[in-house]
């Protein structure tokens, strides 16, 4: 298929095509057995057409791979663009791109074997537990090729791999049982080796064998990296975007103190094996490192093509295809939005153990049900699924139930400690390298 020839023939306007080809192996587990094995191969593309005068943008997504279908999709995008009114912007031209680390050789070589072996090892590790059992689990590997071509001569391609692991660990038995239900994406197996992550998850599950609901109070809490990701990625990501600035919705101003001095965050599109790491963003602009918050002071906004040009700024490689319920191999079905790459938190100078030892009375929150903060107001409220009480510098009994609530940006002002080893994490939100963070005066609601 000669993509450039077909698109040049179909539309005289600016065009861009984003193509994804992927293979996916999904092993699903029930206890010590396999519940399902799913293999998939998908190819799809999104065509965007931008008209010169009106700026109208039309988009067509398709999984039908023939010249005829591509032509029909492009014509459709062109016709839709004619109806719109939007600010005009130019798509990126060809640029020099930096090399990035996005693929794991083990997954590239035999992704199905990796998924099956991982699942077997996880099941074996969990089966050794006395009071914890596996009810359901997923281990999934992906190999995803992304390609962007546009009418300005840009043509770039990358290959990435992903591993996704989700386990539901039953804690105890009978009517008093509860569960720990973690999940995480990584780019490579070594970031989620079963002997590290599964054993860590089992330790958390064990800590909830003896548990009680929380009391209603304001207290010190330590958030796990996954919880940090879910509270701060959607909120800091949105308020750092040029779109939020343009709409007069950003709570940030350049050089303004927005957080405790301990907090430093970079949007790092080049972080080795980060989940949103790539040489180029989803419009073809080189990804880069942008300082967002430095010692509590907000520094820079993030720009995609549209906002860089309409707001007279330099693009920062933040045109990202993402959407609710869209998996890493389905991104061709979305339009580039002004979003973060990897929000990368700087580590502090204390280990996690030291942070805990340094806490007199508080809660270690391993997992909340679904934080999903309101990205405009940054408010959130979520059930505490798995936590552990901290008394006089030691982790004691488990805490399950009740809720934690507040405003993400108020929490940022109450940071009293950051652990020294940030890690690539994911929760419901995506694109984060986070440490454990200790916060003061957080509202916990319980039944007493």
């Amino acid at each position: 298929m000669n993509i450039t020839a077909v698109l040049d023939k179909t539309t005289q306007a600016q065009w861009e095509i984003y193509i994804q080809h992927s293979t996916r192996t999904d092993v699903q587990l029930r206890g010590s057995k396999r519940e399902a094995l799913i293999r998939q191969e998908n190819t799809g593309y999104g065509v965007r057409v931008i008209l010169p005068r009106s700026g109208g943008a039309g988009v067509g997504y398709s999984s039908c791979n023939s010249d005829k279908d591509l032509e029909a999709t492009a014509r459709r995008a062109h016709d839709l663009a004619k109806l719109n009114r939007s600010p005009f912007f130019e798509l990126p031209a060809k640029r020099k791109l930096l090399q990035t680390k996005t693929a794991d050789r083990r997954i590239l070589t035999d992704s199905e074997r990796v998924a099956k072996d991982y699942a077997d090892e996880a099941q074996a590790l969990i089966s050794e537990e006395k009071d914890i059992s596996l009810t359901y689990g997923k281990v999934r590997t992906y190999v995803v090729e992304n390609q962007i071509i546009n009418s300005r001569g840009l043509a770039c391609k990358s290959v990435g791999t992903y591993l996704y692991v989700e386990m539901t660990l039953k804690i105890g038995s009978g009517t008093s049982a509860t569960e720990f239900w973690p999940s995480r994406y990584s780019r490579r197996v070594s970031d989620l080796e079963p002997t590290n992550i599964i054993l860590e998850w089992l330790k958390i599950a064990r800590s909830c064998l003896k548990r009680h609901p929380p009391r209603t109070k304001q207290t010190t809490i330590i958030l796990s990296p996954a919880v940090v990701c879910d509270i701060f990625v959607p909120t800091i990501g949105f308020h750092s975007s040029a779109e939020a600035l343009n709409l007069n919705l950003s709570a940030f101003k350049e050089h303004q103190h927005v957080a405790s001095e301990e907090l430093t965050i970079v949007d790092d599109g080049l972080y080795p094996y980060g989940l949103r790491t790539n040489s180029f963003d989803d419009e073809g602009q080189p990804q880069e490192k942008t300082r967002l918050i430095e010692k509590g002071v907000f520094k820079n906004y993030l720009y995609d093509q549209l906002h860089a040009q309409t707001m007279d700024a330099k693009p920062t490689g933040n045109g990202i295809r993402t959407g609710f319920g869209i998996d890493v191999d389905e991104r061709y079905q979305t339009i580039p939005a002004n979003d973060n790459t990897n929000l990368t938190f700087s580590g502090g100078d204390q280990s996690l153990e030291e942070l805990i030892q340094d806490t007199k009375d508080g809660l270690m929150i391993y997992q909340a049900a679904w934080l999903n903060p309101d990205r405009i107001t940054t408010r959130f409220g979520s059930e505490i699924r798995n936590a552990q009480e901290i008394k006089n510098g030691e982790l004691v009994e488990g805490v399950v139930g009740g809720s934690l609530s507040g405003s993400a940006f108020e929490l940022m002002k109450g940071i009293s400690g950051i652990s020294d080893r940030p890690e690539v994490v994911s929760g419901y939100a995506f694109g984060c390298v986070a440490p454990y963070i200790r916060l003061e005066g957080v509202q916990i609601s319980g039944s007493s």
């Binding site: 999904d26 699903q28 057995k33 396999r34 519940e35 399902a36 094995l37 799913i38 293999r39 998939q40 191969e41 998908n42 190819t43 799809g44 700026g55 109208g56 039309g58 988009v59 067509g60 997504y61 398709s62 999984s63 995008a77 839709l80 663009a81 109806l83 719109n84 009810t135 359901y136 989700e166 539901t168 509860t178 569960e179 239900w181 999940s183 709409l247 007069n248 709570a251 609710f324 319920g325 998996d327 389905e330 079905q333 339009i335 679904w370 999903n372 309101d374 107001t377 408010r379 409220g381 979520s382 059930e383 699924r385 399950v400 139930g401 009740g402 809720s403 609601s445 319980g446 007493s448």
Partner: protein, 463 residues
């Protein structure tokens, strides 16, 4: 524009029929799915229109070693043949034996009728209508900083072909319009939103009346002065959407029998037992006309139906597919669903709602000395094993001496779901509504659903 090409779909269905025929496997089926969508979005910054056409085919078999799926979004004959051959080879190798509760084979070819077919309305007219809605809302209050209006029409063309003779095809249109009003005063920013839609046509756009838009603007502005809710155990009055979310997220997910087979349901041994106040009756109805979660048959080929989950507080039924129906010797409930051919089929809810009661809402409020009214649910999440709950609403009010007073910011409802259901002491007869929504099985595999009921009063932990 969402367009259906019958000839192309017929061809893939014909290939599946021919290639699945015969052989010595106990059961193999193929699901073909073609989703087309037109989406229009407008806000202060820009307008966007997009058109989507995503196809896929997925074949699966079941043996002692579980389900095996092969899928691709190439739907040509040679790809379908490759997928089926791979599946047959593997299932033979695993010495296929399986126990499934297969429904009687059916031949269906059906379509959900709508009042105003979106395909007959020019896109220009749809875009113009969105511009009018946007302009109307913008001028309603000077504190509005942005208005986001979104319209989407989707047609799902789905066919199931099974090795035992089912050939079922359904065309389901879903149309949705949603709106968010963002307001700002000094440094305080807030918003409110609403969404209307279902297995309906363009007529849903007419339901977004000037009166509804005006109420939404007032509600968003009111949020600027709202305060944080009180925390801890409170008497709460839940609006119909929030009641539906409690029934669906907090309760219904525990009734998905695949979770029971995994040992992951707190309701596993509760069939026939009291799980709620006797004022509570909950239905699960995939045949509810116009509702977002409705369909004609499920993805195992079982006809859609109304199931009673809880009757006057007593647990009556779990939700089943062909695997759990056999394993638990239970009647099929038509609850097997998938997001599309790229995803696995699971037991899912469709439209979950509570039966109306006998009291008027005004009467319930008057009768409440102190409490909180929770409105405009935003999201919830399941805890199928632990029986915990989380439902988040956008707004609410304090109730003092039988009157609603101060507006409240977003409220999180938590607690033990059986305690919350057991504490229901009033159910309204008025306000019945089934909200459109989207449901994941955990953090993925999203399907369209509806959830609703009328107003409930109960006790729960809020924060």
């Amino acid at each position: 524009m969402a367009v259906v090409n019958n000839r192309e779909s017929d061809s893939v269905i014909g290939d599946l029929q021919e290639l699945l025929r015969g052989g010595d496997l106990p059961y193999v089926d193929g699901l073909y799915d073609w989703q087309t969508q037109l989406a229009i979005r407008k806000n202060k910054e820009r307008e966007n229109t997009s058109s989507k056409s995503i196809k896929g085919v997925s074949v699966r078999s079941h043996s002692e070693s579980g389900w095996t799926y092969s899928s691709s979004n190439k739907v040509d004959r040679s790809t379908v043949r490759k997928l089926i051959n791979q599946l047959k080879k593997e299932t033979r190798r695993s010495n296929a034996k399986s126990k499934l509760a297969l429904p009687d084979p059916v031949k269906i070819d059906t379509k959900t009728p709508v009042k105003k077919d979106p395909l007959e309305i020019p896109i220009e007219e749809k875009l113009q209508r969105l511009r009018e809605i946007y302009d109307l809302a913008r001028q309603m209050d000077s504190r509005i900083v942005d208005v986001r209006v979104a319209y989407a029409e989707t047609v799902t063309d789905r066919a199931l072909v099974t090795s035992n003779g089912t050939q079922a095809r359904q065309l389901i249109p879903r149309t949705r319009i949603s709106m968010e009003i963002v307001v700002k005063e000094d440094i305080v920013t807030d918003s409110d939103n609403l969404s209307l839609g279902g297995t309906v046509g363009y007529e849903v756009v007419d339901d977004l009346t000037e009166e509804k838009i005006s109420e939404l603007v007032k509600s968003a502005v009111e949020q600027l002065k709202a305060v944080a809710p009180p925390t801890g155990v409170q008497t709460v009055i839940l609006d119909p959407g929030t009641v539906g979310t409690v029934c669906h997220e907090s309760f219904g997910h525990g009734l998905e029998a695949d979770q029971a087979l995994r040992g992951r349901s707190y309701l596993k041994d509760m069939l026939g037992k009291t799980v709620a106040s006797d004022l509570v009756t909950i239905y699960e109805d995939s045949s509810l006309e116009g509702a977002n979660g409705s369909y004609h048959f499920d993805d195992d080929g079982v006809k859609s139906r109304k199931n009673t989950l809880v009757e006057n507080g007593v647990l009556v039924s779990f939700l089943h597919d062909i695997e759990t129906g056999a394993a638990m010797n239970a009647p099929l409930t038509g609850s097997s669903r998938t997001q599309n051919a790229a995803h696995r089929r699971f037991i899912r809810m469709s439209n979950t709602y509570a039966k109306p009661g006998e009291r008027k809402l005004d009467d319930i409020v008057r009768d409440t000395k102190r409490g909180v009214m929770m409105m405009r649910w935003q999201f919830g999440i399941e805890d199928p094993l632990g029986g915990g709950m989380q439902v988040v609403s956008k707004k609410g009010y304090i109730i003092e001496n039988g009157v609603t007073t101060n507006p409240l910011k977003s409220i999180t409802l938590t607690g033990r779901v059986l305690e919350v259901l057991g504490n229901v002491d009033a159910v309204s007869s008025d306000g019945f509504f089934v909200d459109p929504g989207t449901c994941g099985k955990g953090p993925e595999d999203y399907v369209p659903v509806g959830s609703g009921g009328t107003w409930w009063r109960t006790k729960a932990v809020i924060g």
